[in-house]
Symmetry: C2
Subunit: 432 residues, 2 copies
């Protein structure tokens, strides 16, 4: 047994890269995870922590004191360190900051002063800056004085004496240009400078559009604050995507896959409660037709088909619209076109499947009127569904509500109510 | 009118970057899109085409002949060109290839020989290669002979005389090292070489794990074939994420937001048909209890609550599992733990919401037995839902079926059937 533990310890501390250790911890249920963490050398804690999802990260951070945190985070990049600190209570952050050297503290505080989801929160103050009036030869000699360059250094940032960013010099251009020319003569002046207050999604869009590897971040005064590198942008892109998928089920994208049962139950209960409100509204709508159902029970047998087909048609439209909004394809000018398109799609598919479902119902219950009624209800519900699928995300967006989170519940509530009321209402009108 | 067109033409051809023109085209309904495309200079077609989604890209590609294609694609990177060609019928590909210069044709054919979703399909043969036995000074002079270096060149690839990749030299190391040393002495030999047959998702994982900017691609014989750059990997990450969201609604991630109504209806109809089969199964299950419903219509009023809460609970579990599988957290070893956790979560939330729904039902219909029956059905359905949500993606994965596409339909069919049968079955047993 102790031999196996020794082997695990060796693997964790020497065999695996920190990113792989983090992945292993995230793939392990709580008890085993505890054991693995205990086997890990404390000086590796910080390296591993930075690769963990927020939920698991917090689990370990919460039981470290300021001194342990300081040991663990030594040698981390400033942006990664700031990410970790942002998770902690203010008092602990202050304690850790107090025990840092003045220069390092200032750099970390600069990043911490911006929210995590802004360019300022993503940036790293590790940029290499140069002056415009030196030759490339001097630049090359200056670089050679470094032990190593920061990761993803594809450009040098050209600043004035007062730290104002006036240009960038790509390393590639530095390597192919004549060494006797001045920086000013070869630097690019039409570069992408990111405002520190820009949102991380806007940063991601900019990087994707222009295939950037790094970009400088400036304050409102045009002074250089730091730079953002593609590896952090990739994390933003991945998290944004996960956010959409997870929030459609009312979940958090940082959720630990192996969270304990009690915590999981508590977190999921809220979403179930919200959906119970929706289901109750639907049930109340059906309640108005209790007498009709009492007389024709076949209605209760068929009614889930109408609501379910409406839900599917609506969620297809909703998904296309949410993506279109996220990609910036959908704007006020073309919503009208989309609305008409979806109206046509809803009616077309409504008619096609109305015929199928109507025929099936006539065959099953030997009742032509029932077939006509369900067919009409299908056309109504699929048309309303596609219209609702178009308008819900557009309106939610206008009120700055996340359509991925609340769009689905709103939509199915509408398609359920409309589906049941159309079907049962038509039945009440034509049968009784 | 003609003044406005002239202005639009100027903006398209000189004011906007090709990536922005592509975005504009994708944000425009068909007719206006047609007009904009007509205003675009033919030599810009290729630049713009490479930034379009597959669906819109194909729309324009389909009406170009081989000669137009050749003009349009002049100057494109080999990997981008191969991406475009892959969309076309084989005869057209051959025609375009025939009219290329021999060397360019060979390079494009090499990329085309690998499927689009592999490392070989992503790679670009534009790597800068050097020999191990030259000094860094010679390397620097060699680089200076280039007009420009390929984008995202963060490493030089060290190869033998027979093109076998034996090391990489990062530009950063080149810049800080003594120029008199040999490449062999400073090159890295523990680099990440990607097999040409590796899947694009594996490539994306590797880039994310190790914060890579570019990585070499080799054949089975260890010979260098090309390199993959982070900008193409970012596209893979984004497309993988979009695939998950879109396929949950039975849609394709390449779908044009502004596809015409008829094409949209046809594409969506298939998914509606599959869901109709599921809804029919559910309806047949309810049909067994027609007599019970005839006697107690309140059952029909309440039954959607049971099925809908089960569907929500199940889809929460399904979402967590699909993500866990995609991230590589879930494996055979820990599925058992997850199954037990989800069983506990399902029972806990089942009990909590059973009490609430039971009480609401007693209050609404003044019938204690009805409350007991719906509470029992809730516990059963939420427990089954979380178990199904765990097992469905694990099993689908085993059979190599995409869980994001078919998981949802399978799950709601199960939660609907179990929910209705449990509720109506218990009512039949205890009431009649």
């Amino acid at each position: 047994e102790s031999g196996a533990l020794d082997q695990a310890r060796r693997m964790l501390n020497r065999g695996l890269a920190p990113v792989d250790v983090a992945h292993l911890l995230e793939s392990t249920p709580p008890k085993e995870r505890e054991i693995l963490w205990g086997l890990l050398d404390p000086e590796l804690h910080g390296d591993v922590l930075q690769y963990l999802g927020d939920d698991v990260q917090l689990e370990f951070l919460n039981r470290m004191d300021a001194e342990q945190l300081l040991t663990a985070t030594e040698g981390l990049d400033v942006d990664d360190l700031a990410d970790l600190l942002q998770q902690l209570p203010n008092t602990v952050i202050q304690e850790v900051l107090q025990s840092m050297e003045a220069q390092e503290r200032q750099r970390v505080e600069a990043v911490l002063s911006y929210p995590e989801d802004t360019a300022g929160g993503l940036m790293n103050p590790d940029a290499i800056t140069i002056r415009p009036d030196i030759t490339l030869d001097v630049v090359l000699r200056y670089l050679r004085r470094h032990e190593r360059l920061p990761d993803a250094t594809d450009t040098l940032l050209v600043v004035t004496r007062r730290d104002e960013l006036i240009g960038i010099l790509s390393i590639n251009r530095l390597l192919v240009s004549d060494v006797s020319v001045l920086v000013r003569e070869v630097m690019q002046t039409d570069f992408h400078a990111i405002q520190a207050t820009a949102s991380d999604s806007d940063v991601a869009t900019l990087f994707q559009k222009h295939d950037l590897i790094s970009a400088p971040v400036v304050g409102i005064d045009g002074k250089l604050l730091g730079r953002i590198t593609i590896d952090d942008v990739v994390d933003v892109i991945r998290e944004d995507a996960e956010h959409q998928v997870m929030s459609m089920a009312g979940l958090d994208e940082d959720e630990d896959t192996f969270a304990p049962a009690l915590r999981t139950s508590r977190r999921r209960a809220v979403w179930l409660g919200i959906n119970l409100i929706a289901a109750t509204i639907v049930s109340i709508a059906i309640g108005f037709f209790e007498d009709t159902i009492q007389q024709i029970a076949a209605l209760a047998v068929l009614m889930p088909i109408v609501s379910s087909m409406g839900g599917i048609a609506g969620s297809q439209t909703l998904t296309v619209l949410i993506r279109g909004i996220a990609l910036g394809h959908v704007s006020g000018a073309n919503v009208r076109w989309l609305l008409i398109r979806e109206l046509l799609v809803g009616m077309t598919n409504g008619l096609i499947w109305a015929v199928v479902v109507g025929a099936m119902s006539v065959f099953r219950f030997d009742d032509i009127r029932l077939g006509e009624i369900i067919a009409m209800a299908m056309v109504i519900n699929l048309t309303v569904a596609t219209l609702a699928g178009t308008l819900i995300p557009v309106m939610l967006k206008k009120f700055k509500i996340d359509p991925a989170l609340s769009g689905g519940v709103l939509l199915t509530t509408i398609t359920d109510v409309v589906g049941f009321v159309a079907f049962l209402g038509l039945a009440t009108a034509f049968y009784l």
